[in-house]
Amino acid sequence: MRSARWGRMAGTLSGLVVTLFGLVLVTFLIGRVMPIDPVIAIVGDHAPDDVVARVRGELGLDRPLYVQFAIYLGLLLQGDLGRSVMTSNTVVEDIARYFPATIELASVAIVIATVLGVPLGVLAAVRQGSRLDQAIRVLCLAGHSIPIFLLALLSLLVFYATLGWVPGTGRADVGYEGMDPVVTGFLLIDTLLAGDMDPFKDAAWHLVQPAGVLAYFSMAYIARMTRAFMLDALAGEYVITARAKGLSAVRVIWRHAFGNIAVRLVTVLALTYAGLLEGAVVTETVFSWPGLGQYLTVSLLNADMNAVLGATLVVGLIYMALNLLADVAYRLMDPRVS
């Protein structure tokens, strides 16, 4: 049993390595075949030919593609993603600066979305066909079908511009910006570490709106999936057994039916979270949220290839990590996948 388990884990890990290599190869190739000349992005349109040639040589772009890939892979293994042309920092530094903003936003959003979406989905399934079910369906349909940029803009218009309940864009008010030392990069944690309540509240208030918009969007999906899974589970014969045992409705629904869909739900949650981490590009743009999505977009527009490759790689890694996590959860929670 034990050795079989280790064998499976080794299999999973080697699968990860292959996937990772594929990811690096594909992102690298896309970066190289794009009709963008990174040299011109650095030296400008009007640079003399010898300068262009020299920079091209310095970047190693005159060498064959496989040599370039080998060099890139070698540096990558040392944790070197190259230097960003735009910010002139290393890409690793840049990602370390931008990514926490995205993680903070995505994490708050997924928590809200889960806490609301799962019970709503369960409720809709238990009361299938009722007015409540209809209401939840309409709520979710709206969240799922309204483009997120429109939702974000509407939210800004209503809650910021008209009602003034929440602050506008950005992560913090200008007055608070850079006040507390950056420790983790997560504003909520850093301000708390500094023991400053005002900047903490400010950061929290700034988070409410973009996180709320993202959460609504994700909640719609989570609730719909939960409802579908629950309907499936509630039709199971073991639910009749549980009822025949005289268990309370709460226990029948949550222990027996929900217990059976929890595994599948974890996969949905993990992928939704990965989608949010990938940088809700549009939401970050509308709310001027200095996260990975914005970094990626700006880098792409400036032909900053090292930055684009690095950020894409990180996104891919996130997906793989969360997939792995869902896989592990699956094994822990479902006795049939021992």
Partner: protein, 275 residues
């Protein structure tokens, strides 16, 4: 009387209006073994489930009398129903592969049934579950208690189901085709076990099946249902005196070793049976 049913009708809404699946069925049951026989769709399972109010929400149930030990099932509150279901009547379904919860161990599922409506510790419940597993003649109850439904055979799963439903010491056991998913040899074992437990505890049993000879062998009385109606009620030993053509047809379709027939007759259905 443990169970009294008068003029029970169960209907479902369809695109063509209400469609009755059970039509004015009347039954009585004491501490005895009653068999209900009929083909698929004859309404035997619905009748039994109506007694525990475990029908799908769309079902429309009406009856002059539908009582379990004097409790009016139609007007009982959900709380009263839970007291009937958990404590006084159990239900065993066809295939343990589907009727056991796949993510809970056999022991946990039995312990849950035992502890429900009792004030007992987790440990007591776990011990009771093992004891119950031993009562359904499982040889290594401690090991089986820790197993998940996918790890045990169909016969063993059905024993687990029986143990679970007997946990609260009910007065009535409804077994809805409890052996149809099992091998022939295991079928006999399970039925004997069930009969033994039921007799020893002085319980009532409703055994639902489509196997007429099998039911008459294990039960005191047999009710034959066809198209939502009771067409015949017989003492188990008096099958030969069956008068309804449907029952007679069923009996004639049976192959026997002592009088082999070259070709078994095909039942000729009379539309008049429906009215």
């Amino acid at each position: 009387m443990l169970v009294e049913i008068r003029n029970l009708t169960i209907a479902f809404p369809t695109a063509q209006g209400m469609s009755a699946a059970v039509r004015s069925v009347s039954l009585d049951l004491g501490a005895e073994k009653l068999g209900i026989v009929g083909e698929s769709g004859s309404g035997k399972s619905l009748t039994a489930r109506a007694l525990l109010r475990l029908l799908p929400p769309a079902a429309r149930v009406s009856a002059d009398v539908l009582r379990f030990d004097g409790i009016d099932i139609l007007s009982a509150s959900e709380r009263d129903m839970r007291r009937v279901r958990g404590k006084r009547a159990g239900l065993i379904m066809q295939d343990p592969k589907y009727s056991l919860n796949p993510i809970m161990t056999a022991g946990a599922q039995i312990a849950e049934a035992w502890a429900n409506q009792r004030h007992a510790s987790r440990r007591e419940a776990a011990e009771a579950a093992i004891d119950l597993l031993a009562q359904v003649q499982i040889r290594d109850p401690r090991r089986v208690a820790g197993m998940y439904p996918h790890e045990i055979s169909g016969g063993m799963g059905q024993r687990v189901m029986i143990a679970m439903m007997l946990a609260p010491d009910p007065e009535l056991l409804i077994a809805d085709e409890p052996t149809s998913a099992l091998d022939a040899t295991v079928q006999a074992e399970i039925l004997r076990l069930m009969e033994d437990l039921v007799s020893r505890r002085g319980m009532g049993l409703i055994l639902i099946s489509h196997d007429l000879p099998l039911v008459s062998h294990f039960c005191d009385r047999v009710v034959v249902m066809y198209a939502g109606r009771v067409v015949e009620e017989l003492q188990a030993g008096a099958l030969a005196q069956a008068s309804h053509p449907y029952t007679r047809g069923l009996l004639e379709c049976l192959p026997t070793l002592s009088h082999p027939k070259a070709r078994l007759p095909v039942m000729a259905r009379d539309p008049a049976w429906l009215s």
